[in-house]
Amino acid sequence: MTTLTAVPASAAVRRPRIRNRYLRGLATPRGVIGLALVGLVLAVGLAAPLLTSYDPDFQTADALVSPGTGDHLWGTDEIGRDLLSRLLYGIRSDVLVVLAAVPIAALVGCGLALLATAHRAADVAVQRLFDLLLSFPGLILGLTVTAIMGVGRGTIIVVIALVETPAFGRLLRGAILVHRDREYAVAARVGGAGPLRLLTRHVLPNAADPVVVHVALAMSVAVILEGAMSFIGIGIRPPEASLGSTLAASRPYLEDHPAYALGPLAVITALVVGLNLIAEALNRGARR
């Protein structure tokens, strides 16, 4: 027998400070900026009642007031509603849609992926369903579903869920199939691991990365899609405040009253950029 084989010291001692690879990814400049942007938007949305005293639907006598003048910090719109209130409450309605739709998509998509990887017949059916859904670009799907379901918040949630479900499903299905055929998974089967243990102990921990990263990306897609639908008038409709509909309403006043459009533009950009930075940070963390 050969002597005890020493482990190279250089490889052994260096152990990162943060053990969880996702947290390690988020603790980079990219991740911190992303978290800060998204956190800031969420915080002002949550604190809306504390930050403004106006009801978002209340019409004052002063229409199209510029920021900083009078009692309105960010001015008013064409029928005298306080723009700051409408922006902050608009964030709330946006976030509500995103937080409802993305988890549904993630759960349904991952559930279908698990089903598809468990049964061959189910796989064919699920794959066809995903193909069908993916052949619709998001907005076309939005128009179609709205034609069937009518305009409303529920419709937007369904649309986002339909767009993102196949994305989650495909990512997880693909990752499971890859990792299930890796030699370490075969080794676990030979070692006696049953299907459940194989999945939970060996395959899923290795296959989960793309799904985790995609949560942030899906949220960014959801923000964009909700904004677009509300913008063209098939999403959340006035008088209820939303970022997309406020942006649409501001279009005629872009020249004289740019602050009107600036609010929703800044918030949507911050959310989308922040979420994409988070996704990239998670991705880099997972690849280490």
Partner: protein, 627 residues
């Protein structure tokens, strides 16, 4: 093996002429996350016109990097940090401009790479490939068209004019390597750099390609630099050899000298670690203990000092210079008479090594594992692949059954069907007399306890997210064996049993080298105390010196634990080393079965004969002729 009489002689006769290539003090570093990795650390050599020089070493020795550095073909992360490469004693390729280099590449120095499947552009026809090669050096169009067919003919491709219009995917691996050689020789270069040109090929094809390179080198007068890890290839094809270790030349000599009377302890160790078909049956391999140095933090002294039985204080603090010995060979070692000292030490270990215990009489014993007319067909939507066709084998208690075959012979499918990862399409598998072809729950459980497996790829076969302890304990947890405390203790025992420290249990697989990972895989397989161990190419991803360690470990475990073992490999010499009996597979069928020594000495089936003839022996031709 054919008799080679007209091997080129080492060019000791022409010291006055300028060498074709003259490499001095070559240093190459790669950027990595851990800082620069010093892959080549001062390589010197000359190449004369028309000679064949082999550069041999294990992975990480710097042999491929040296080759790529010669005409500055290093990947983006690599750079030459010092040294010179003089072509014709005039042009220094290290400092040459890109334009000058382009003139040299292809026209003066041609290259052949390891993997013919990926080295040709899938979108271009073979004709276009040849055309591009000549176009780059200003050959006019009419001449190019005519010469392309000539070149294909030269490398032995039938109907050359017709095949010019075919794309790479329409050629087999061996044929593609012929095309690569045609490309490399298209502009009649003076130097052919061949980087592991036959490693990706099956032995029978490997033999043809080596013959082609030799013949063309001779007829065209091309000097060949042959990069290889295979001592057999060196013995077969090269006149002179350069042995690299840890990024430095440790020995340079004629092939006959280097392989016959090696001077450097590393060369000596390497040659002892190579399994040989012509060694007496039952001779134990000698691995080199330890692992190659970490070149991100290269050792100050001799790179081999950590693994060298003769290393003294000076070896660890000071790099040995290349000493010139009588006859022109050079060696970099502080110990003056290493071979003699080593032989004195080695005789002791040789005595300690017990010959393979003869297998107890098994004639009337029932086999542990029996396979009869096993068939496996893979069906996809489009096609149907017969992976196993009427395979019948028996494995007796305490025996090692070797299974050899080239890629695609069905040997991996066979073992995966044996352990129940694939289900058989037809035939029967009997384990201790019970039919386990389609096992029920109870049979499945018994099977998992008794039959375990060691995998080929030491990197892919360990779950990267689990600690070594969790990996080794996994079968125990899966099968509900023992309490957590008992499992922990067992893991510690197992790790020490396979030659690792028990503290390894808390680390992740990425902290370990390939050989160490393979030990972890073996520990995992041994965890449920199986009676049958199935090894699927357990050493084919490992370097020779490490391969010997693992082969010995498996042989020892087999003998001590009384395991019945199936050992799969494509290298007949390795299989012969560990097996009592050998089965030869080809295209899903077993073509011959017999006692290991008998089968290798007197093969009956023409395929076995071809396989044996194709394995290059690491014994220099001259020595073989004398014997």
């Amino acid at each position: 093996m054919t008799v080679s009489v007209e091997k080129p002689v080492a060019p000791a006769a022409a010291p006055t002429t300028t060498p074709l290539l003259s490499v001095r003090g070559l240093h190459v570093a790669f950027d990595s996350e851990r800082g620069p990795v010093h892959a080549v650390r001062g390589v010197d050599f000359d190449l004369a016109r028309g000679e064949t020089l082999a550069i041999v070493g294990e992975s990480g020795s710097g042999k491929s990097t040296t080759a790529l550095a010669l005409n500055r073909m290093l990947p983006a992360a690599g750079r030459i940090t010092a040294g010179s490469v003089l072509l014709d004693g005039a042009l220094d390729l290290v400092t040459a401009s890109e334009a000058e280099l382009r003139e040299v590449r292809g026209a003066r120095i041609g290259m052949v790479f390891q993997d013919p499947m990926t080295s040709l552009n899938p979108l271009l026809t073979v004709g276009r490939h040849l055309d591009e090669a000549m176009r780059a050096h200003g050959v006019d169009r009419r001449r190019r068209t005519a010469r392309a067919a000539e070149l294909l003919d030269l490398v032995g491709i039938a109907e050359p004019a017709k095949r010019l219009h075919d794309h790479p995917h329409q050629f087999s691996g061996g044929m593609r390597q012929r095309v690569m050689i045609a490309l490399a020789l298209a502009n009649e270069p003076d130097v052919l750099l061949a980087d592991e040109p036959t490693t990706a090929l099956d032995p029978t094809v490997q033999d043809q390609i080596l013959t082609l390179v030799e013949d063309l080198g001779r007829t065209l007068g091309t000097a060949t630099v042959l990069i290889t890890h295979n001592m057999g290839v060196v013995a077969r094809s090269a006149a002179r050899v350069l042995v690299l270790y840890g990024g430095r030349v440790v020995e340079q000599a004629s092939t006959a000298e280097a392989l016959g009377t090696p001077e450097h302890p590393y060369t000596i160790g390497l040659l002892r670690a190579v399994p040989r078909l012509d060694a007496p049956y039952g001779t134990r391999l000698e691995g080199i203990p330890g692992t190659p140095p970490d070149l991100a933090a290269p050792p100050v002294g001799c790179a081999f000092a950590d693994r060298c039985p003769l290393a003294g204080d000076r070896c660890r603090t000071e790099q040995p210079p290349l000493r010139t010995l009588p006859g022109g060979r050079t060696v970099a070692c502080w110990v003056e008479d290493a071979p003699a000292v080593l032989t004195a030490a080695g005789s002791r270990s040789a005595a300690a090594a017990k010959p393979k215990a003869p297998l107890a009489e098994v004639a009337d014993a029932a086999p542990v594992l029996a396979v009869s007319s096993l068939g496996k067909v893979f069906r996809s939507r489009r096609n149907r692949v017969v992976a196993l066709d009427d395979v019948s084998l028996e494995l007796f208690r305490g025996e090692t059954l070797g299974v050899v075959g080239e890629s695609g012979s069905g040997k991996s499918t066979l073992v995966r069907t044996l352990v129940g990862v694939h289900s058989a399409t037809s035939g029967r598998i009997l384990f201790e007399g019970r039919d386990i072809t389609r096992p029920g729950r109870a049979d499945q459980r018994a099977l998992r306890r008794s039959v375990q497996m060691v995998f080929q790829d030491p990197y892919a076969s360990l779950n990267p997210r689990l600690t070594v302890g969790a990996i080794v304990a996994d079968p125990l947890v899966s099968q509900g064996i023992g309490t957590p405390a008992e499992r922990r203790r067992r893991v510690g025992e197992l790790l020490e049993r396979v030659g690792l420290d028990a503290s390894a249990a808390d680390r992740l697989p990425r902290d370990f080298s390939g050989g160490q990972r393979q030990r972890i895989g073996i520990a995992r397989a041994l965890a449920p105390e199986p009676s049958v161990l199935i090894c699927d190419e357990p050493v084919s991803a490992l370097d020779v010196s490490v391969q010997a360690q693992v082969v010995n470990l498996l042989a020892d475990l087999q003998a001590e634990l009384g395991l019945s073992m199936v050992f799969i490999a494509h290298d007949l010499a390795v299989v012969r080393q560990v097996s009592h009996r050998i089965a030869v597979m080809r295209a899903g069928r077993v073509v011959e079965t017999g006692p290991a020594e008998e089968l290798c000495a007197h093969p009956r089936h023409p395929y076995t004969q071809a396989l044996l003839a194709a394995v290059p022996s690491p014994t220099p031709v001259s020595a073989r002729a004398a014997a």
